[in-house]
Symmetry: C2
Subunit: 437 residues, 2 copies
């Protein structure tokens, strides 16, 4: 019998159907056995009546057993209806159970709230929890909605390389790779230089890239390997056009996620991000003034949280742009607004920077001068500099950290929770101290 | 004046507009200067009449200068109309030119057919050629259409890690990474183990991943870093269901690309891939019989080409599946059909394997036994094995190499041509011997 997805059972009331999935919950009440069966589309209650030929198999199954179940779809008695829940008004009267795959004893119950390291140690199992399911369903939508918004805005996607010849950004700690013939390669800390090159060919380009940071850091916002969506666009008059494109994209993403995953926000007790009429924009100096603190060259994490509270209160927005950071504090390719302040910006979301961007230098001589000014060797940038040598329009772009965006979207406590397979100083899959390899 | 995209000029006949883009071609005829201007949307001819105030700027510009051009959109005299070409019936009478960015002397003309190494040495420049533009526009569509087809088939996208703890596939040469605290990490040769883990949580999962191969190989099909789209699906009865899902996806991709990029196939003189009614399926033994050669354990490149010619001639399909490879010749997690033959398959496209897949082992004990049989240590797979320990359905999946798919879609001579920034034994951006870094 052809398999019916659990979310479609409602259309088969009164009929015999076959579903396939996992035993999410099993309650053996002696004469009767109750189940929650789970497949990719949802859950349904199953009941094995005393005389069902499924009784033996039902007694044998345990949580996470994989089964194919044939049964009759019944309407629940009115008093047992669970309103607002998928299949809350039906149940499956189980006629036959076929065990497709067994599970060993579980380390703990699937949806138990356990500490984060244990959760990661058992990731292949904990990914099945409702919470992780919700997080990564939302993340998949975030990434796709982000891409679709950029494609609709005439951006061309490209595949940025992870293996690079040097530490381009100059600063971030970089992982070294043993390359061929005793050469050293590096893992990209950003697709920045490549997306600027793509502006020369496609004007508007974006990439979903893996980035790698070897910083010895163990904060809740740090990952050794992360995912970013980077875009870059030509023919801008200033960084405000980049910010406008980013704002439109973020709005598209939030609206798509809110629509598609209303149940997740409800289940996790998290409000849908507030977009306001327009994301407020403050210069760094204005932000410090608003907070009544001494102006500095950057925002502290506390300042970021406080200014976001201000933005939500005053502008009904969970997002706020901060601009005019000192040029010296930004990457070498950042265009200066005047002597000391830059055309860079950060986008803060619920207290955390999730995006950083800028208008870039586009003049070849200026770029070479800036590289030298930063104590770097233009010869090491000869590939990148070709983009400027052969005519590149005024351009700018930005980068969103997907784990951070997901983290704040769902108010998670740690960016690692928004990485299906998080890597940090001490962990690649398992803690490095316990890893077999 | 607001910028008008070149593809939209037709709607502004008789009006004054401003465009922005590159000087693609400039022909100085003394009194008059003719241009082809290029932006992300297309090209248009511009003409500077003797009395135009743009004359000085026109004389100053060179190829690849970036300009903003204000002019009047005129209908061309009937005799000058270039039928079937974008803007073949209009031209821009140039009134003013503003130079936004200059270009130095070009190393060669943009669309010159030059040798492949030079093309890569000057990649930031050669990416602007019509040919590369076409290749990477098609590639962007391939990747997006592939994803959208899988999403429509209820697959969940995830981000697979590039940093891994060991060489999981056992065999392919692997790049080593200096990780924290003198540990060694590796670059993933495949997202295989992670997508199987995802089956346990989402049933159907896919990822667009970067993969890394340290093989000392310099063939036309080899890249040290490549892009793959990998999917994996649960609750299958055998590998035929995976093949059917793949076939549907490939058909969706080819149809989308054919529709969106008809001009590219025409320009490159390449036929749109033939899909036939159904992709033919041959066992390895049948394939060798068809070719009249001695049965072997694998296909040689020549056999792959010949069997594709057969498929096109007999079934009107540029694609052909080969099945029943010896289990010993496939990755450790491949399910055996019987003692020696596997449930693996390859998909060949125009003479080249672009996809490889299989039904996988899903029983925990069987998987552990297979790992031992291959001389590997199950302890090193303890993270991966959790997926099997805690109940995983019968499943299978496959992996498509995006550069190879693009290469054959457009009949390119080398997979590197389908990588925007190719890496091989001798090259990361520039040849490693000439690199500044």
């Amino acid at each position: 019998m052809e398999r019916v997805l659990i979310r479609d059972l409602k259309a088969h009331v009164g009929k015999e159907v076959t579903i396939a999935g996992w035993v999410d919950v099993r309650r053996d009440q002696g004469k009767m056995v109750f189940f929650d069966f789970r497949d990719r589309s949802g859950m349904v209650q199953g009941v094995v009546l005393p005389k069902s030929e499924a009784v033996d198999a039902a007694k044998e199954t345990r949580h996470e057993y994989v089964v194919s179940v044939t049964g009759k779809v019944n309407v629940r008695p009115q008093k047992n209806v669970q309103a607002g829940k998928l299949n809350g008004d039906i149940e499956l009267e189980v006629l036959r159970i076929e065990i497709l795959s067994r599970a060993q004893e579980l380390p703990f119950e699937k949806d138990t709230d356990i500490n984060i390291d244990t959760r990661f140690d058992y990731r292949p199992f904990t990914l099945r929890s409702q919470r992780d399911h919700d997080i990564f369903k939302v993340q998949a939508t975030v990434v796709d909605a982000y891409r679709q918004s950029l494609i609709a805005q005439d951006f061309t996607e490209f595949q940025a390389p992870s293996l690079v010849g040097g530490d381009a950004e100059g600063g971030a700690a970089v992982f070294k790779v043993d390359y061929f013939n005793d050469r050293t390669a590096y893992l990209a800390t950003s697709p920045q230089l490549y997306k600027q090159i793509m502006v020369g060919a496609f004007e508007r380009a974006f990439t979903v890239a893996r980035i790698f940071r070897a910083e010895k850091s163990a904060t809740t916002r740090h990952l050794s390997e992360a995912t970013c969506v980077d875009f870059e666009m030509g023919f801008i008059s200033d960084e405000r056009e980049v910010m406008a494109t980013l704002e439109r994209t973020i709005r598209d993403v939030v609206e798509t996620v809110a629509k598609k995953h209303a149940d997740v926000f409800e289940r996790m007790g998290v409000p849908v991000p507030a977009l306001g009429d327009k994301f407020p924009v403050l210069t760094l100096r204005e932000a410090h003034e608003k907070l009544g603190v001494t102006p500095e060259d950057d925002m502290t994490p506390e300042h970021e949280r406080n200014i976001c509270e201000w933005a939500l209160k005053e502008h009904g927005s969970d997002f706020v742009f901060i601009t005019r950071f000192p040029t010296n504090a930004r990457a070498f390719y950042t265009m200066a607004e005047d002597g000391t302040l830059s055309r860079g910006f950060d986008l803060l979301f619920r207290g955390l920077e999730i995006n950083s961007g800028a208008q870039r230098i586009h003049n070849y001589d200026e770029m070479v001068a800036r590289i030298k000014e930063r104590g770097m060797d233009p010869d090491k940038f000869q590939f990148y500099l070709q983009a400027f040598k052969y005519g590149i329009p005024p351009h700018g772009g930005c980068s969103t950290g997907i784990e951070r965006f997901t983290m704040k979207m769902l108010n998670l406590g740690n960016a690692k929770e928004a990485s299906a397979f998080p890597r940090d100083m001490n962990r690649i899959d398992l803690l490095l101290s316990q890893e077999g390899a």
